[in-house]
């Protein structure tokens, strides 16, 4: 079958199971756009900014487990994608990004809208391609999807010159992939798994520390089985949230910089740390040399370069978590750790990090708690970056997998609007709440137009503290309340803005109206926004200052620890 390059791209995407593409056209990708009407199976969502396309593809991938697809034109279209690509790279999200490029003959001549896209994106992609002949398109797209969503997932970019999009060649979709340099290790080493089981058996105070890998490998059932069989408390990292039901008796929550005090203390006191699909990020370890020094460590990860990168481990296992746990669970004996679990209950009692103080004021924590109750822990929660993100991690009780969608590694403010769009497109049947910061929301709120246009019914809770809250908190704690460039004096009227975009807008400044506004937004058919005018100088507790240890943790009842 002879096809032009653009038709080949569409045919290949359909064969990879793509059903939606987030994008925005321009000269260098126009041949591809003009071909799109021939392929009604490919739904295109026209974003308002290419950053939105990349974040939406990322949100789509996090919820569906399938690679998300974004595309854009050359030059500024490509560079606008970069924040979204880097965000996906930091959190290992499978997205495939297609970018138009100037025609082959013009490459290297500084032609109009020429950018070295593969050069720019090289360090923020898992792999990238510049396609120099239409005949390569099928093989490259096949490889791109394979690379994006196997091993440790990640973004793959394909740069396609305009004249390659119109070049005619024979189309045959390959059935095989030959990548001699890419063979992810999936099966864990049997001897290592036996050693891990032995450590688990000998341990008195074990904890599971589950990360993002637990979600990628769909190891939800296996983690639960391990936890229940050997009675091991489960702690989840920020990105590991929703890999274990938080209403489970063995759930201990999130540790680290803004984690639950008892989770950080449990890691500190543990004699065995079972790290599953996580990478000992500095937000978890604080000061690596002082991190859980008395524990032996088992580390399961699919990426060998994560083993021993930040923390020395005793039993490293490289492999796919689901498969490794399936084998490990056979080796592990039923056990109880009554004293240890009781001790953690005491820690929870003595360090009540989840408590929301009694006050008439409108607290962000209370709002998130109310959204959690109204949705019975079953919504998909998407966040921006900052205080509201930490409160959303802390105070929503996640009971289903793939429910917490947040930019962890990159910490990209602005994720909350397009990320939520992608999440909702991936699962139209679930309620999607975007817990947004008034700062981050303003970075990408143009996508509200996309939501209304495409009837994507995301519900927004803007935690409006009239400032860049998390930075303001750092200034309060570490710079003597010297609030440089963090306070907004002229935020827009978000309710009017919502109305201007054609969505429901509500404002809540009184605690008593919170629940009814949430219910109203949920029952509204389309996208809705609630502008919550919260207590402005509320702080996120507990806090372990960057690079410090559990001993330096500041809890809500110890403000004197702030210097």
């Amino acid at each position: 079958m002879k096809l032009n390059g653009s038709q080949m791209i569409c045919e290949s995407l359909i064969r990879e199971g793509v059903d939606v593409i987030f994008g925005l056209p321009g000269g260098a990708i126009l041949p591809l756009y003009q071909t799109l009407p021939e392929y009604p199976k490919l739904r295109h969502i026209l974003v308002r900014h290419e950053q939105g396309a990349a974040h939406a593809a990322d949100g789509y991938a996090r919820v569906s487990g399938k690679p998300g697809v974004a595309w854009a034109t050359s030059g500024p279209g490509a560079t606008n994608l970069v924040t979204g690509i880097a965000t996906a790279q930091m959190d290992s999200i499978p997205i495939v990004v297609i970018v138009g490029q100037v025609s082959r003959a013009s490459i290297g001549s500084d032609a109009f809208q020429e950018t070295d896209t593969t050069g720019i994106t090289l360090p923020v992609t898992k792999h990238n391609y510049l396609v120099m002949s239409a005949s390569e398109i099928p093989q490259i797209i096949k490889e791109a999807f394979y690379i994006a969503n196997t091993g440790r997932p990640g973004p793959v970019l394909i740069d396609i010159p305009k004249d390659v999009q119109t070049e005619i060649a024979e189309f045959k979709y390959p059935s095989e992939i030959d990548l001699p340099g890419y063979k992810p290790t999936l099966e864990g080493n049997g001897a290592q798994i036996k050693r891990a089981a032995k450590l688990i058996k000998e341990s008195q105070r074990p904890v599971i520390l589950a990360g993002h890998g637990a979600i990628f490998s769909n190891a939800y059932d296996e983690i639960r089985e391990l936890a229940e069989k050997a009675q091991i408390p489960v702690i989840t990292t920020l990105l590991g949230i929703s890999s274990f039901p938080e209403d489970h008796v063995l759930s201990v929550g999130m540790p680290g910089m803004h984690g639950m005090a008892y989770a950080s203390l449990a890691i500190e006191e543990a004699d065995l740390l079972i790290a599953l699909g996580m990478r000992f990020d500095d937000r978890i370890t604080g000061k690596p040399s002082a991190f859980s020094v008395n524990s032996k460590k088992i580390h399961v990860d699919i990426d060998p370069s994560e083993i021993g990168k930040n923390i020395k481990v005793d039993v490293p296992i490289v492999g796919d978590l689901k498969r490794v746990l399936a084998k490990l669970n056979l080796e592990v004996d039923p056990n109880t750790h009554v004293e240890w679990i009781q001790h953690i209950e005491e820690l929870k009692r003595d360090h009540p990090s989840m408590n929301i103080r009694a006050t008439e004021k409108l607290l962000p924590q209370y709002i998130i708690n109310q959204i959690s109750e109204a949705t019975e822990g079953k919504a998909i929660v998407v966040t921006g970056v900052g205080q509201h993100q930490m409160w959303a991690a802390q105070h929503y009780v996640y009971t289903e997998p793939r429910s917490f969608v947040t930019s962890g590694g990159s910490g990209a403010m602005g994720y909350e609007v397009p990320g939520a769009m992608g999440a909702q497109v991936a699962d139209p049947g679930r309620v999607v709440w975007s817990i947004a910061g008034d700062g981050g929301f303003q970075m990408t709120m143009a996508e509200l137009a996309t939501l209304v246009e495409n009837k994507i019914p995301v519900k927004f809770a803007i935690i409006n503290n009239q400032c860049l809250g998390m930075v303001r908190q750092w200034q309060e704690f570490f710079y003597d309340k010297d609030y440089v460039a963090t306070m907004y004096t002229n935020n827009p009227d978000f309710v009017k803005l919502a109305e201007a975009f054609g969505m429901l807008g509500l404002r809540v400044s009184d605690k008593t109206q919170v629940r009814s506004a949430i219910e109203e937004a949920i029952s509204y058919e389309g996208p809705a926004l609630i502008d919550f005018m919260v207590e402005e100088e509320e702080n996120v507790f507990p806090m372990i200052p960057a690079g410090q240890t559990v001993q330096d943790m500041i809890e809500e009842n110890q403000p004197e620890k702030v210097r």
Partner: protein, 188 residues
């Protein structure tokens, strides 16, 4: 990773078999830069297979760094095989061209030093010579040092290339070799 191995900084030789495609050198160099790894020397050339190149890196670092270097190299899709061959039975060679100042009095003396090192003189001008020397890094360093006395004008070095001795090792190095089992690898 193992706590038994003392973390000592030393020079390590790493070889990589890579796809001979545009941009591969850039990917490798970019990874070294981004991760803050130092390359002492890097030599790239064709391998025995037309679509593959072989790279030899000499890197400076402790065991942890070198382990990370090899793992991150391995992570690049176009890199097929990575080996840290420092502790193996290897031959390593480097080629250097050294331009030395000479005059009537010193020429004979320089030629004598060159002869001692089994190096060659490949260009003779009235006031300078170009010396070609092949050997391991130490040998070239020593010759360079000795020639400084006469006045070294320019030095050009290729960087080290290295191979394992014996056929068994060669088999291990080929593209058909089984993928590294990280489960075990990570524990040694």
């Amino acid at each position: 990773m193992n706590s038994k191995i003392p973390d000592t900084a030393s020079k390590r030789t790493i070889t990589a078999l890579v796809q001979d495609k545009p941009g591969v050198l850039n990917r490798v160099a970019s990874m070294f830069r981004r991760r803050g790894f130092n390359i002492e020397s890097l030599a790239v050339g064709k391998s025995e297979e037309s679509d593959l190149s072989r790279m030899t890196f000499v890197v400076d670092g402790d065991d942890r760094t070198v382990e990370q270097v090899t793992k991150h190299l391995h992570k690049l899709i176009d890199v097929i095989k990575v080996s840290d061959i420092s502790d193996q039975n290897i031959v390593s060679r480097e080629l250097a061209l050294i331009r030395v100042k000479v005059n009537i009095q010193t020429r004979a003396e320089v030629m004598q030093v060159v002869g001692l090192f089994r190096a060659n003189i490949i260009d003779v001008a009235p006031d300078s010579l170009i010396v070609e020397v092949v050997g391991d890094e130490d040998k070239i360093d020593s010759l360079h040092e000795l020639l400084k006395e006469f006045g070294v004008v320019e030095v050009m070095r290729t960087g080290t290339i290295a191979l394992n001795r014996g056929l068994e090792a060669a088999k291990k190095e080929s593209r058909k070799s089984k993928h590294r089992n990280w489960g075990e690898a990570a524990s040694v």
